[in-house]
C-alpha cells in the first residue's frame, strides 16, 4: 500500500512557483483553529477523503513548550484538516532521544488538546517498517527502513518548531523528517544518520519521503544551542506552505539567516523545491514585518544575514 511519491524529485526549474503563507500569532491562546483553517483553505489542498499524516517535532519532555511543536498547533491543524474533508488525520512522530514517547506526549499535554491518542497517534519508532531504496546518494546510505504508516499516507505534513540547530544550522520542515526514521531500527538517537552526515541524510530522507506541505510553529521558537538546549525566542509566526524547501527558506529569512548558506537547504533547492525568493509566492504577512533575528552558535555565523536591509543583526553566541 506504499504510495508512489513521483512528485518528490525533479529539477526545481521545472517546478511551479511555491506558495508560503506567514501568519502573525501573538500566543498559543489565540484562535489557532480559525487561523489555520482559513490559511489552509487558501491552498486548496487535495486532501478530501485522503489519509493525512501530521509529523510534529517532539524531541523530549518539554513542560515549558520551547522544544516541541506546541500541542495547540498540532490539534488545530488536525481539526482543520478534518473539516477540509480528510478521511483520517494521524499524528506521528519517532522521538530521537527518549524512547518513552508517552512521557513526551504527557509532558506537553497533547491529549488535552487533541483528545485520546491511542487511535490517533502513531509512535514511528516502533511502527512496522519497509525497506526503501534511496533515490539519491547524498549520504552513503543506500537504503533505509521506514515506517509503513508514513509510506502509506496520502498526504504528509511536516510540522517543525522554528529552531536553530547546533550541527545543522537550522532545524525546520526538512530536518524534522529525521523523525520518521524509526528508533526501532536505528536506535535512540538515530546515530547512523549522524555518521552518514546530517546534511546528506536530510536530503536523502526528504527525497524518499518529501512532505507535501509544511506548517512551522514559530510562535515561540528556539535560538542558539538548539534543538534542545537553546533559549526560547518569541517570534510570533506560523509559516505554512506547499513546498517544504520554500517554507524552510522563508523561515530562515524570518530568523535573519541566509537559506543559501544552510548546506542541506542549498542542495535541496536543486531537486526538492525552491529557495529563491523569486520562485516563492508570499502570502499573508511580509517577511520584513515579522523578521525576528535568531542568535546562532559561532560555528554558524556565516548563516547570519549581514545586509543592512535586515536591520538589527542577530547576535552570535557560544
Amino acid at each position: 500500500m506504499t504510495r508512489d511519491r513521483k512528485t518528490a524529485l525533479f529539477p526545481s526549474f521545472q517546478r511551479p512557483v511555491s506558495r508560503v503563507a506567514i501568519r502573525s500569532v501573538a500566543s498559543y491562546e489565540q484562535d489557532l483553529l480559525a487561523l489555520i483553517y482559513e490559511t489552509l483553505c487558501e491552498f486548496d489542498l487535495p486532501i478530501r477523503g485522503k489519509n493525512v499524516l501530521l509529523k510534529p517535532n517532539l524531541v523530549g519532555p518539554d513542560p515549558l513548550g520551547v522544544t516541541n511543536t506546541h500541542p495547540a498547533v498540532i490539534a488545530a491543524s488536525r481539526e482543520s484538516l478534518l473539516r477540509l474533508g480528510a478521511a483520517q488525520v494521524l499524528i506521528a512522530e519517532g522521538p530521537a532521544l527518549d524512547r518513552d514517547t508517552e512521557a513526551i506526549l504527557e509532558s506537553i499535554g497533547l491529549r488535552h488538546y487533541a483528545g485520546p491518542l491511542s487511535k490517533v497517534f502513531v509512535d514511528l519508532n516502533v511502527d512496522d517498517v519497509e525497506k526503501v531504496l534511496l533515490k539519491t546518494t547524498a549520504s552513503r546510505l543506500s537504503e533505509l527502513y521506514l515506517p509503513k504508516t508514513v509510506l502509506s499516507a496520502d498526504f504528509v505534513i511536516s510540522m517543525p518548531k522554528l529552531k536553530t540547530h547546533h550541527w545543522a544550522g537550522v532545524t525546520l520542515s526538512l530536518k524534522n523528517m529525521f523523525g520518521i526514521v524509526p528508533g526501532g531500527c536505528y536506535g535512540w538517537p538515530k546515530n547512523i544518520l549522524h555518521w552518514a552526515g546530517i546534511d546528506s541524510a536530510v536530503l536523502d530522507i526528504n527525497a524518499a519521503v518529501r512532505p507535501d506541505f509544511a506548517i512551522v510553529d514559530g510562535i515561540v521558537g528556539m535560538q542558539g544551542n538548539g534543538p534542545i538546549q537553546g533559549e526560547s525566542k518569541n517570534s510570533g509566526v506560523l509559516i505554512l506552505g506547499d513546498d517544504p524547501v520554500a517554507v524552510d527558506a522563508t523561515c530562515c529569512r524570518v530568523m535573519g539567516l541566509l537559506p543559501a548558506k544552510v548546506k542541506y537547504l542549498a542542495q535541496a533547492g536543486i531537486l526538492l523545491g525552491h529557495i529563491h525568493p523569486d520562485k516563492i509566492q508570499q502570502l499573508g504577512e511580509s517577511i520584513a514585518s515579522v523578521r525576528t533575528p535568531f542568535s546562532v552558535l559561532d560555528n554558524f555565523k556565516q548563516l547570519v544575514h549581514t545586509s543592512a536591509a535586515f536591520g538589527t543583526q542577530p547576535a552570535l553566541v557560544g
Partner: protein
C-alpha cells in the same frame, strides 16, 4: 525438559532442577557487594511498592499472551510484525512473571522465532530483512539463556558482541577527532568502548548497559575471550557519559558546555549495569536524581524500568511517584508490548531474570 529456574538453560546442559549446580565464575559478577561481602541474591522491592499483581495479571499478561504472532514472535504492538526486541522482553515477562515453562507452546514458539531471526554472523537485526546485526543481539542472547537448544546461538551472539567495535573508539578516528574543529562540542572520552545501536557508529548508554547486563548473566564458559577487558572499558564509558549532577541521557552529557538533561530509561539501565558499585559517588548521585525525578515522570516504560532499578538497589519507591498502572488509562501504553513486558517485570519482586539467582546455572 523442565524450565531452567535460573534462566540459564543451554543446549547440552540438561534442564533438570535436580542437576542445578553453581559453576564457579558464572555468578552474577555485577551484583553489588553487601556490607558483609556477600554478592547479589534476589533483591525484592518493599511489599506493596510494585505495581499491583492484579493489574499485571488482569491486563498486561493476557494482552501479551494474545499478541503473539503466528511466527512465534511479538511485534512492538499487537497485530504488528514480529520483531526481535519486543519478543525478547515479552518472553522474559512470560517466563519470569507469568510463570510459564520454557516448554510451553508460547515460549517454545517465541524462542524458535528468536533462533530463526539470528543472522549467520551470530547477531540479530532490528527488523526482518535487515542483513546487519545490531544492539538487539544483547537482549536476544539474554532471552535465549532461558531456552533449550540455544547454546550455540547464544555463544555466537556473544562472540559478535565482543567483536562489535563502535567506530568512535577506533584509534585513527580519535586521532582525527583531535584535529577536528568540532572537538570542543562534547566532553566524551571516546577511548572508552561500549556498544552502539548499529555497528560502525558510536557507543551509547542503553545498548552498552544492556550488553553489560547480558555479560553479567552469562555462564563463564559462554563468555568470549576478552570479555573482561571489554566490560571494564564499557563500565568506564558509562561513568564517563554520566550527566553532570547525576543520571544519564542517551549518551551526550555535555554539548557545547551545556549539561544534558538526564532521562529515566538510560539512567535506569546504566544503574542496573553498574550495580556492583553501589557506593560509588556516581551511582549515589544518579540514584538520587532518579528518585527526585520520579514524582514528575509520566511515561509508563520509564516508571517500570525505574521500579526495576530502585528495587535492585533496595530502595523504596517514592511515595509521590505514580505507578505504571496509574497511567494505563491515559493511552493504554500506546499498545506497546515492550512497555507491558517491562511493567510485568517491575511487578515481580524476584529479580532472577536480572541477577541470575545467585549464579545458578545448569549442567
Amino acid at each position: 525438559m523442565r524450565r531452567c529456574k535460573a534462566g540459564t538453560g543451554c543446549k547440552g546442559m540438561q534442564v533438570q532442577s535436580k542437576r542445578v549446580k553453581v559453576i564457579p565464575g558464572s555468578e552474577d559478577i555485577f551484583a553489588p557487594e553487601s556490607s558483609s561481602g556477600a554478592r547479589g541474591g534476589v533483591i525484592a522491592l518493599p511489599p506493596g511498592q510494585s505495581p499491583s499483581a492484579g493489574f499485571v495479571e488482569r491486563v498486561c499478561l493476557p494482552k501479551l499472551r494474545s499478541a503473539q504472532n503466528g511466527d512465534g514472535g511479538w511485534g512492538y504492538r499487537p497485530g504488528s510484525e514480529s520483531r526481535v526486541e519486543p519478543t525478547c522482553w515479552v518472553l522474559q515477562a512470560l517466563l519470569n512473571v507469568a510463570g510459564m515453562e520454557v516448554s510451553s507452546e508460547a515460549c517454545r514458539r517465541g524462542l524458535r522465532f528468536l533462533r530463526s531471526a539470528q543472522l549467520p554472523d551470530g547477531s540479530w537485526p532490528f527488523a526482518a530483512g535487515q542483513q546487519v546485526g545490531c544492539s538487539v543481539t544483547a537482549p536476544a542472547c539474554w532471552a535465549l539463556l532461558s531456552g533449550e537448544s540455544s547454546f550455540q546461538a547464544v555463544a555466537a551472539g556473544l562472540s559478535w558482541l565482543s567483536q562489535d567495535r563502535p567506530r568512535d573508539s577506533v584509534f585513527w578516528r580519535r586521532w582525527l577527532g583531535r584535529l577536528s574543529p568540532a572537538r570542543h562540542r562534547s566532553r566524551k572520552n571516546s577511548a572508552y568502548r561500549g556498544w552502539g545501536w548499529n555497528p560502525c557508529t558510536s557507543s551509547w548508554v542503553e545498548p552498552t548497559a544492556v550488553a553489560l547486563l547480558v555479560l553479567s548473566r552469562c555462564p563463564k564458559e559462554l563468555l568470549p575471550a576478552g570479555a573482561n577487558q571489554r566490560r571494564q572499558s564499557a563500565e568506564a564509558m558509562l561513568y564517563d557519559r554520566m550527566c553532570p549532577g547525576g543520571g544519564w541521557n542517551c549518551g551526550d552529557p555535555l554539548v557545547y558546555g551545556v549539561p544534558g538533561k538526564p532521562l529515566v530509561i538510560p539512567t535506569a539501565w546504566a544503574l542496573l549495569a553498574l550495580r556492583r558499585y553501589p557506593q560509588r559517588t556516581e551511582n549515589l548521585v544518579s540514584l538520587d536524581w532518579l528518585e527526585r525525578k520520579l514524582p514528575d515522570e509520566q511515561g509508563p516504560g520509564s516508571l517500570a524500568l525505574a521500579q526495576i532499578c530502585l528495587g535492585a538497589y533496595g530502595h523504596k519507591w517514592p511515595a509521590t511517584a505514580k505507578s505504571p498502572e496509574d497511567l494505563y488509562s491515559n493511552h493504554e501504553f500506546l499498545g506497546s508490548t515492550t512497555t507491558m513486558a517491562w511493567v510485568c517485570l517491575a511487578a515481580n519482586s524476584r529479580r532472577s531474570w536480572l541477577t541470575g539467582e545467585s549464579g545458578e546455572t545448569l549442567r
